[in-house]
């Protein structure tokens, strides 16, 4: 924890020196102090800023690639990556992944269409997640058609093959739900005693269908019986530093990342157990000032280093998204 604070303070000072936009924010909104005596004191920027401003702490010629968010709510976020930043992300993800799933390489069944890997320097957050996680696989099988419907024969064939070995089924939460459960007209079921499901990408769509995490897991186990189902949480603006769900159902911070929960009214730090806006901290972003970002996700911090699962770090839940305020400007007329 102390090392994390030291590292993120160093990083914040670095971005303060290199990125004018970040410096302007720190100077005007945080008394010109880029560092903090605690994580709670560290300056932060709103996630929405990635949609408005090209945030970078490197020269244009050092840009290796640009990561773009899915942009479900209008404009896309742009994350400027240097080669080094990109490599760091991959390394961090690998280390976190191995801690969660073990060191070997296992086959991965990916609930995406092969098309997602098509060429291009700029990549979507979803493509980045697929690329990131699947790079640790011994074999990759894509089981969705281009229209995101499931290719049942491919799925059946590969799950039969992996019946008696360790295999990871990976996909976006909503896609897994819609393909394996909602569209499973043949009511096919699979048994993978050594298999695990890894899913992420948020509950927004499932929440609107009023499906709880518990229901998701139960229904999923009925279709594909696996050893474990693990949710992960992360954002394109801090790729690499993902948070995995523990046995107790909490996300845990790691040496790469941390969180602060802020009161949604006052933005001051919220006490344990009280839901608020999630602020994500990461030591990975070195080419852009994304080391401390206030998100619109609502989460609850439950404690630090004392989760009954035995894992260290702060542990928390993600409870949804900040509801859009009903009262909008005059420019928003319900016709």
């Amino acid at each position: 924890m102390k090392t994390f604070l030291k590292d993120v303070n160093e990083l914040s000072k670095f971005h303060y020196g290199k990125c004018k936009d970040f410096r302007d924010i720190v100077d005007q909104l945080f008394d010109g102090t880029p560092t903090g005596r605690s994580l709670e004191e560290l300056p932060f920027i709103p996630v929405s800023l990635f949609k408005e401003v090209e945030l970078k702490s490197i020269e244009s010629k050092e840009i290796y690639r640009e990561l773009r968010s899915s942009g479900t709510q209008g404009r896309q976020s742009r994350v400027i990556l240097s080669k080094e930043n990109s490599v760091n992300q991959t390394r961090a993800l690998k280390s976190l992944f191995q801690k969660q799933f073990g060191h070997g390489r296992y086959p991965m069944v990916i609930f995406e269409s092969k098309n997602i890997l098509s060429r291009g320097t700029n990549i979507s957050a979803r493509k980045a997640a697929v690329l990131g996680f699947s790079s640790f696989a011994s074999e990759r099988t894509f089981v969705l058609n281009d229209d995101l419907s499931i290719d049942w024969s491919t799925l059946k064939k590969c799950l039969d093959t992996y019946r008696n070995q360790k295999v990871i089924l990976f996909g976006f939460t909503f896609i897994l739900w819609s393909s394996l459960i909602a569209d499973n007209n043949h009511e096919l079921t699979f048994d993978l005693p050594f298999g695990e499901i890894l899913h992420g990408g948020g509950w927004k769509k499932l929440e609107s269908l009023k499906i709880t995490k518990k229901q998701f897991k139960e229904k999923m186990q009925r279709v594909v019986k696996v050893r474990a189902i693990t949710d992960y949480y992360g954002m394109a603006e801090q790729a690499g530093g993902v948070f995995f769900e523990c046995k107790e159902g909490f996300f845990h911070t790691s040496g790469f990342s941390n969180i602060v929960v802020r009161d949604p009214y006052s933005l001051s730090p919220a006490p344990c157990g009280k839901p608020g806006l999630l602020q994500l901290l990461s030591v990975l972003p070195i080419s852009y000032p994304g080391h401390s970002i206030l998100t619109q996700d609502i989460g609850t911090l439950y404690g630090e280093d004392d989760c009954s699962c035995g894992l260290k770090g702060r542990y928390f839940t993600v409870d949804g998204r900040l509801p859009k305020a009903q009262v909008r400007g005059c420019s928003d007329v319900g016709i």
Binding site: P46, Y265, L294, G329, C330, V333, G334, I335
Partner: protein
């Protein structure tokens, strides 16, 4: 008239009876009676206490106030409503539809009122009371001349209603107004449009300093009520403050003003939208245009942004963030505003001097000059338009 695929929800009245109903004279007795009955009903219902906007609508349409309004039109002879008026109302101000409807009814028209799609509790409550009142004789008559409905974006019904109406009251953004205006209307037809506007406040530093603490608090309270209702997003919410006075007076008065305002603000800001405010202010920080001052710290309730010299008012904030500037002369206000400016609320200055400047310059913009606390007092004259006259015709007789 209605097709099933229009997905239109009729909350009150029916299109057929309105279609055959006839216009009446302005301030027709039945309309006056109806509105004052409605006013009593709202004020006597305990459920309405929770909604200050509903109470202020009731206060507006009480008998005494309607008579005061009517007096202004006493000399009008042979003035009748245009016919049927279609209302497209905004969703940022829940009860805007009620005023739009009442103005047009007072002008002698039948009304087709599209309600905001968002279901606000005070709107539902008002509808319940209107339904209740329709059981009575006075209410039943209004039932024949009024439809309240909700319908989806770009519903075909709006096309048909536009084509069969004599006038439209369109409240909304430039895009909405453009979209509605694209729907064809009869050749002889009136559109009254109420587009997005913003508002400003002006106060005299000397007068503010002179006021005692109690008075200061009252002034600030009125200012916050004007600006923070509807999350500072209403057309009439002041977002810009002009301080008239010398530098020293400015420093002293704004120091006191913001200290009091910051203490009172929590009672006015209720929405969980600090993310949006932070997001806007962080973006503004990177633009380096104006200098941002947090009153105390980021976690405080209000934020001020001092306007840079030589800039027009080109950046508007919401949710308790104010662009402010000091001026020596009222004329300077008009150098920085444009025709989007709707209301100027004032304290400690003579409103006539503002009007004199508007006339002298021939300024296009600023349709209301009202004291602190009155920004949201609706009147049938809105955005510079006398809706009673605009929605009626006068028969010339010789």
């Amino acid at each position: 008239m209605l097709e099933s695929n229009d997905l239109t929800e009729i909350l009150f009245g029916n299109f057929e009876t309105v279609h055959i109903s006839k216009p009446v004279e302005i301030f027709d007795k039945s309309v006056l009676e109806y509105l004052s009955e409605l006013s009593s009903l709202i004020r006597n219902s305990t459920d309405t206490r929770l909604f200050p906007d509903l109470l202020s609508f009731a206060f507006w349409c009480r008998e005494k106030n309607l008579n005061l309004i009517r007096q202004k039109y006493e000399n009008e002879q042979n003035r009748l409503g245009l016919g049927t008026v279609l209302h497209i109302t905004p969703r940022n101000v829940p009860l805007n539809f009620a005023f739009s409807w009442a103005f047009s009814a007072l002008a002698g028209n039948s009304n087709l009122v599209k309600l905001p799609s968002v279901q606000f509790p005070q709107v539902e409550l008002l509808l319940q009371l209107i339904l209740k009142l329709s059981q009575s004789e006075v209410g039943n008559k209004i039932l024949e001349t009024t439809v309240f409905f909700r319908t989806g974006h770009s519903s075909k019904i709006l096309n048909k209603l536009s084509a069969s109406s004599e006038a439209r009251m369109i409240w909304g953004s430039d895009e909405t107004i453009k979209e509605i205006k694209r729907l064809s209307t009869p050749i002889k037809h009136v559109d009254l449009t109420f587009s997005s506007r913003f508002s400003a406040a002006v106060l005299s530093c000397v007068q503010f300093i002179k006021a005692d603490l109690k008075m200061k608090e009252l002034i600030v309270r009125r200012f916050l009520q004007d600006s923070l209702t509807f999350g500072q997003r209403g057309c009439s919410s002041p977002r810009v403050i002009y301080w008239i006075g010398e530098l020293g007076e400015y420093g002293k008065s704004r120091h006191d003003f913001w200290r009091i305002a910051n203490n009172l603000a929590p009672g006015f800001l209720q929405l969980p939208d600090s993310f949006e405010r932070f997001s806007n202010i962080a973006l503004a920080s990177t633009q380096n245009k104006h200098s941002i001052e947090l009153l105390g710290s980021l976690y405080n309730n209000l934020i001020t942004v001092e306007k840079a010299d030589g800039h027009k008012i080109d950046q508007l904030f919401t949710l308790g963030t104010f662009l402010e500037t000091r001026i020596d002369c009222l004329e300077e206000i008009f150098e920085t505003l444009d025709n989007k400016a709707q209301t100027i609320t004032y304290f400690g200055i003579n409103p006539d001097s503002l009007i004199q400047w508007i006339k002298k310059i021939g300024f296009i913009g600023v349709d209301r000059v009202v004291p602190f606390g009155a920004a949201f007092d609706m009147t049938p004259t809105w955005d510079g338009c006398d809706t009673i006259r605009a929605l009626s015709r006068v028969i010339e007789v010789r």
